[in-house]
Subunit: 403 residues, 2 copies
């Protein structure tokens, strides 16, 4: 697997991103198109309040696709029947300009909740996008930029693999900085590949991959109405179709997981107001489920997050967050280690406080990227979760988002 240092468009895809007037000045609509029909996979928010485009995409998930149309600036959520009609209409408009049926297109929206979509602008936007699609990397970057909301930077990643002698590209782009929490949050993620692979296999791989990546990140604990992760695979690489249990399967899964992991970490690093990237590893757990519960509980705790903001080696709060995670573990066996590029320091060992230098701990925890390791001595399972600190900026941004 070759990790590319710049986003690359897989064969047979075209893209575009423009300003359609939904936001004041920034790009706000993106289109992805493939002439050849694509296999698909998708995972969606578990929130009971699902935005109209999410409901629409779920209803058409299993049909082959020609593309996807996205707007930012307006989430088309809590917009009742009109919202449902508007979501479907976006797909219809795309099909009217690009061919096929409405069901051949996914639709995504992100932004303010509860305001009807400005459909005249949306229609004009899709028309303009349809006539200016390009297979260039720059066009893909335009699309990647057009899906952002409070994000401060684009989130993109590409890898190249060889499947039976053929070059295959897997490329992803994503958005989402607030409302990021386990079980898919205000997060849009799109993955494009020219691999030949069936929808059912793609869905299996995506489900597994999301479980260990997007479902293990947390910015603020809120799970949104709109989060969506979609994959399109058009088979233009010309490889023999990827079959389960083969070397090619493993290689493609590695590539997909890499993209998911890279984008998930980019989202956390760009979390609203985030000043510090936090990695939490749990090892030696009885079960994978327990390890995940513990890692997620630690990384989601406001008190732990605030302690990281203050570069405070506050292992008590970590123990406490482990304690209310509902996971099975023995507090009397726990070891805790803080680390960063400045070194590492054990602060808790065998269930009791371990003497450490506050000065050294401070030095380690003042880095931009810090890590906590909890070893349980209870079994062989492990898990990792990612999050960020709780800062003044988080409060500022979210205290004044809508108004």
């Amino acid at each position: 697997m070759i990790v590319l240092d710049k986003i690359v468009m897989p064969k047979g895809f075209k893209a575009g991103g423009i300003h359609a007037g939904i936001k004041k000045a920034k790009k706000d609509m993106a289109l992805i198109f493939s002439e050849k029909e694509c296999s698909t996979a998708g995972t969606f928010t578990t929130n009971k309040v699902k935005a109209a485009p999410v409901k629409y995409d779920i209803s058409v998930l299993k049909r082959p696709k020609h593309g996807l149309i996205v707007n930012s600036g307006n989430a088309n959520a809590c917009t009742s029947e009109r919202g449902d009609e508007d979501a479907r209409k976006m797909a219809e408009i795309a099909s009217s300009f690009l061919g096929g049926k409405a069901e051949d297109y996914f639709v995504c929206s992100t932004g303010v909740i509860g305001v009807p979509l400005p459909m005249a602008k949306i229609e004009k936007g899709i028309k303009d996008l349809s006539s200016s699609l390009s297979p260039s990397s720059e066009a893909l970057m335009d699309a990647s930029e057009a899906i952002l909301t409070t994000d401060t930077c684009r989130k993109e990643a590409s890898v190249k693999i060889k499947i039976a002698g053929k070059d295959v590209i897997v490329t992803g782009f994503a958005k989402g900085s607030g409302m990021i929490h386990p079980n898919m949050a205000t997060m849009l993620c799109f993955i494009l590949t020219d691999a030949d692979i069936s929808s059912s296999l793609l869905q299996k791989m995506l489900g597994e991959g999301v479980e260990d990546t997007f479902n293990m990140i947390s910015v603020d604990g809120d799970t949104s109405t709109n989060d969506t992760c979609l994959v399109l695979a058009n088979g233009e690489a010309g490889n023999d179709e990827i079959v389960e249990g083969t070397e090619e399967y493993a290689l493609f899964k590695q590539a997909l997981d890499h993209i998911l992991m890279t984008l998930a970490c980019m989202i956390v690093k760009d979390g609203e107001g985030a000043g510090r990237f936090i990695e939490v590893k749990v090892e030696g757990a009885k079960s994978k489920r327990d390890a995940k519960k513990l890692a997620r509980s630690i990384v989601s705790s406001n008190l732990v997050k605030a302690a990281f903001f203050g570069s405070d080696a506050n292992w008590g709060r970590i123990l406490c967050a482990m304690g209310y995670s509902k996971a099975d573990f023995n507090p009397d066996e726990v070891d805790l280690v803080f680390s960063s590029s400045k070194g590492s320091i054990e602060v808790f060992k065998g269930g009791r406080p371990h003497p450490f230098s506050e000065e050294k701990a401070k030095m380690i925890l003042q880095e931009k990227s810090v890590s906590v390791l909890a070893v349980l001595h209870d079994g062989e399972e492990k898990a990792t979760a990612w999050g960020c600190d709780l800062t003044y900026d988080y409060v500022r941004i979210n205290g004044d988002y809508r108004s």
Copy 2:
């Protein structure tokens, strides 16, 4: 029921609160004593990491008691076997000065986690307290002050009821401003009464009362290692023993619930960095369980809390928090109303945004105490939860607590 405007000591109890040197300068030890044996009831943290005093109190819960000894400044949590010994030793020391056995005394600690108790100071403190106990209200206020940590004020309440011609006093005091969340958090609450009532009845009433009060408040979503709510009833009022299903039972329960509710709301109002008190009412739910899940999910959401900090009528975040609560409800039927002493405003009706004046909403939400009502039109059940906004001060306080 007469709500007293000042804390009153029930008959037969004595109290004291002093500075024993665990904290730098403030009072840090409290003692409550009753010559006559007390019936008891207690509820405790559900955190798997339980502090030593919590484990000790659970082990002696069902024995009649002569009193309780509390220290602040040190939680005696994550202190392994030594912590367990120290907790028991605190009770032994109390019994050596006041009579009875170690098991006749409850022990509570609150403060920093992971540091062994300074037992010489604790012993001296208990000795000094034992020799200066007083039945005065002032002594009770000293005790109430001595249990505080980051709290900015004492939390106390007293009521008087008449049980078959006898005056009965129910008095409570509590602490806890951070780490307050459903299921009992860093919160100590002590309730003293001179009523004659059995431990088993008291335990039943307390369990029910805590479920609707302390388990419905949230400051920061973290459930602590030390939270404890204890009741002592010494029967000195001379009433006939309270029996289930009687008028007296109902009256006493009303008094106990009033004290629990009053103290729970005081804790939220004094939440770390809290600028605004938020009440969330859910009505028309299918089940009480659903109503509670929804109310708690709304009041615990960081994004909702940050919106209240900004006086932002952001109903989208409320809908979103309802959606991920795992409660059963129909989003298309929901009404949402914001209110305060400045009036009320409907912002969402029948599952869709309802036009409202942003100016009026701002005016309503700028009050110190604001309220959200969610009506589900799904059934007859309801619930209320209480919380506070998420502020810069919360981050400041918790970013620099330990160091």
